[in-house]
């Protein structure tokens, strides 16, 4: 079997979640790589689009930011922020959108923090803030979340709720006034988590080769049901080739 990095495993795991016909909202970094890989592997008719307004960019080189000029090349339409978020908020188009994003903290309901650690008024650590993350998490049908598997990141309660997940459970989004979609998958450097259809609580779905459920739970600030977890198949040679040779030959994002 070919060797691979955990970052490559994460990108491949996310790419596998993308289906033909999905409109893929991409953030910066590894999420872009996952979307690019999916286009070349399993979902050639998925559409990559960016909050900056670019629809179906032809990514000959991997962009370093969603405002990178590389996202503007050979698109269907070059629009604006106003246009792109409208596609996500609009139920006709929004229900086809899969959002891929990361965060600094996540709780059991998939609520995300990318704003501050500590008190909002005098934070210990300041992060970038929402950007489009809150918008995407509010609007789209399903989101895929990249996380590093660390106790300080999987927390019982996020310090600041930047991007709404399932909020406080099954009726959370509806009672807040949000559309029905929400977090579908959390992809970490150890595992793939999902959310229980009834309770909306995080559950362990997949474990990377060589990792144990105990290791996963030891690195989380809350416990999850691990009963349904299966081993994730490692990246295939073809998946790795696409990722390494087509998507990110300079390893700008793969590192």
């Amino acid at each position: 079997m070919q060797e691979y990095t955990l970052r490559e495993m994460m990108a491949v795991a996310a790419a596998r979640q993308i289906r033909d016909g999905d409109i893929v909202f991409c953030g910066t970094g590894i999420s872009m790589l996952a979307a690019m890989a999916a286009k070349h592997i399993s979902a050639p008719d998925s559409v990559i689009f960016f909050e900056t307004g670019a629809v179906d960019s032809k990514l000959e080189e991997v962009p370093m930011a969603v405002g990178d000029p590389r996202v503007m090349f050979w698109t269907s339409v070059n629009g604006s922020l106003a246009d792109s978020f409208a596609f996500m908020q609009n139920p006709h188009t929004g229900r086809r959108v899969v959002g891929i994003m990361g965060a600094a903290q996540i709780d059991r309901y998939g609520n995300l923090n990318s704003t501050v650690i500590g008190d909002y008024g005098s934070p210990k650590v300041r992060f970038s803030g929402s950007g489009g993350a809150c918008d995407v998490a509010s609007f789209v049908n399903r989101t895929i979340i990249f996380m590093q598997h660390e106790k300080r990141k999987f927390v019982p309660e996020v310090d600041y709720l930047t991007s709404p997940g399932w909020l406080d459970g099954p009726d959370g989004r509806n009672s807040a006034g949000l559309p029905p979609g929400g977090p579908a998958t959390v992809i970490t450097n150890m595992a793939i988590m999902g959310f229980d259809k009834t309770t909306r609580e995080m559950v362990l779905n997949g474990i990377y080769p060589g990792i144990t459920p105990k290791q996963i739970l030891d690195n989380m600030g809350f416990s999850v049901d691990v009963a349904g977890a299966r081993e994730v198949s490692p990246p295939s040679a073809e998946e790795l080739r696409i990722l390494r040779e087509v998507c990110d030959p300079d390893r700008l994002i793969l590192g």
Binding site: V66, G67, S80, L81, T162, P164
Partner: protein
């Protein structure tokens, strides 16, 4: 807005005329793209202070204004420059040390706030942010807001949909309009009257410009009016919205300008390293900003070779194969 058809001036004059201490300012661009950097550096050089800055994800420009000590208050969605600085360095330090006051929104909320300003309505509705801390945590308190007639009395309002569940929504967030004193954008082409053409994504530049009382347009190319009128479908801002037109080639450098040049990875990586250390950042400012007379001198300091490396390829609009590590 200004009805004259000849608005060309120097950057020094434009900033001096329209950007004063304490001004409410917004700048165009997104993360590492089309930030009006020449104008940003000129604002720092002129020592303008206490700005109230409005930004969605303007990235490098916002970070430099904060680092330059120009900013007192910031309403923002995102302080990052893509892979070069997932969180902008001077922005992060300033917030963590309480040197600026900040209020958070999402990108769409900020876009709608500029759009509301452009449309001349007090607010616009969205479903974004319902249930989030963005709704509940205000950067400026109620009493502070009421004491300042430049701020709306509320950060935002959640209301029940007055049309029942029409649009499948029973609640919406209303976000208040922004009307900056001045918006500065950098575009590819403008004419002397201010008609502006933007190649590629417009981000929220158009809304930011139309929302503002005054607009400064810096441009890569200053072209005759007829050159733009030949195909008005590509023009984005009508001349009567614009107060000053400034011709500044490489005016977005070190950020990118689609079809003209790419971002400069070397500069942005160096900046990150210098910005991380307070002393080195001081040196950076004195060498690259205060140490040069204008953007032309700043570019000469970078050297022709560096600028040649980032020149855009004609087919793609960016620098193909650029070393971006």
């Amino acid at each position: 807005m200004d009805m004259r058809t000849e608005k060309v001036m120097t950057l020094e004059a434009a900033i001096g005329k329209f950007v004063c201490d304490g001004a409410h300012l917004s700048i165009g661009g997104f993360t590492v793209n089309r930030n009006p950097m020449a104008a940003v550096y000129e604002i720092i050089r002129q020592g303008i202070k206490h700005l109230h800055l409005y930004a969605h994800s303007n990235g490098q420009g916002v970070d430099e204004l904060i680092g330059g000590g120009c900013v007192a208050n910031l309403e923002i969605a995102y302080g990052g420059s893509g892979r070069f600085a997932p969180t902008c360095i001077r922005f992060r330090k300033a917030v963590e040390h309480g040197r600026i006051r900040i209020e958070d929104y999402s990108n769409y909320q900020m876009t709608l706030r500029f759009l509301a300003g452009a449309m001349g309505v007090p607010f616009l509705p969205t479903r974004s942010g319902l249930g989030s801390s963005i709704v509940h945590r205000w950067g400026f308190s109620g009493p502070e807001r009421e004491a300042d007639d430049r701020l709306p009395d509320r950060k935002l309002c959640v209301i029940d949909n007055p049309f029942g569940d029409w649009g499948e929504a029973h609640k919406v967030v209303l976000v208040p309009a922004i009307n900056p004193d001045v918006t500065i954008i950098h575009v590819q082409k403008a004419d002397p009257a201010g008609t502006a053409r933007i190649d590629g994504l417009t981000f929220a530049d158009v809304e930011q410009a139309k929302a503002a009382q005054h607009v400064i347009v810096t441009c890569e190319e200053l072209v005759p009016t007829d050159a733009l009128r030949k195909n008005p479908d590509l023009n984005r801002i009508p001349f009567f919205c614009v107060d000053a037109v400034v011709h500044v080639p490489f005016g977005a450098y070190p950020t990118a300008c689609y079809r003209y040049y790419d971002y400069d990875p070397a500069y942005l990586n160096d900046y990150r390293e210098m910005a991380l250390d307070d002393d080195r950042h001081k040196d950076y400012l004195s060498r690259f900003v205060h140490g040069v007379a204008d953007h032309q001198s700043f570019l000469e300091l970078q050297g022709k070779e560096r600028l040649d490396k980032i020149r855009a390829d004609e087919r793609t609009g960016y620098a193909v194969g650029l070393d971006r590590r």
